[in-house]
Subunit: 146 residues, 2 copies
DNA sequence: CTAGGTGCAAAGCATTTGCCTCACT
DNA sequence: AGTGAGGCAAATGCTTTGCACCTAG
């Protein structure tokens, strides 16, 4: 993500936190920034690793609690893929995922057409739709080459 | 699932096992049947529970190993949702999921339109597409009522 | 000042592994 | 005899919880 884009995200983040009443702590800033700087949909462990150089005393519990809090308020989103650890994504607007079934890599996909697929009547009639996303399971070029 | 439909699935199952060279054991039959009889996308624990009356000595390890084996050969499929336990589904052909974000219920959705969405060029060009599915996150009627 | 946040350690579960036994070729 | 499968128990690993201390607002 570009520097200027990051700035916008960070300002948005601060604004949302104040709005909700979440204290802005150095740890929370660090966790949010770590997410912005990592487009691989890191899991809590990976975020923890990327923060420890700067905050050697931060604990995994804090990372878990913080991510959970952010996700609960929609500041970040949870991504679940074909493997079992939860991953997080700072992009909360509608987007889709390409998951390589071999190396488990997750790539974001922004696509106008997919954003406006026809919502089946069955869903519209009975449920309150929160969001939807399309998961593509693929073998990526690198894995295919092997 | 209707009785006659189940029969077809079971015969298919037996056929696939023989083809692959998997021994057909009472435990494996029981696990597969449990999956057929439960359209709630059960997790290993739930499958274990539904089998114990008939097979009191079966172990969780067997359930895990068996499900993993079935999934590896494409006999059943793994479903991952917005919560963290893995769930399984005997239906391996393309279908989509409605997940209630409150009660975590998962409902299968068969939909012609969704089966033929436009695959983005970005994917077609670089990757070998295995499958895709659409996840709808909703608040279901029961939860909305509360 | 004080509610909310952090960090540590322990607990809790889901899942996996190792290994021995058994059944069927 | 040898291979594949099952069952038990232990290990692993991710995630959550409880609690005492601390800090941002």
């Amino acid at each position: 993500m570009s520097q200027s884009n990051q700035q916008i995200y960070i300002e948005n983040f601060l604004h949302r936190c104040r709005e909700i009443g979440l204290n802005i702590t150095p740890q929370r800033m660090a966790i949010y920034k770590a997410l912005l700087n990592d487009d691989s949909h890191p899991n809590p462990e990976a975020i923890y690793q990327s923060i420890t150089p700067e905050y050697p005393t931060i604990s995994m519990a804090t990372v878990y609690k913080t991510l959970e809090t952010f996700a609960r308020y929609g500041i970040i989103s949870m991504v679940t893929t074909l493997h079992n650890t939860v991953r997080y994504d700072p992009i909360t607007k509608r987007h889709h995922h390409i998951v390589c079934v071999r190396c488990k890599k997750v790539i974001d996909l922004l696509d106008q057409d997919l954003d406006s697929i026809k919502i089946p009547n069955k869903i519209k009639k009975n449920n309150q739709l929160i969001n939807y996303s399309v998961h593509f399971n693929v073998i990526c070029p690198e894995c295919k080459g092997k």
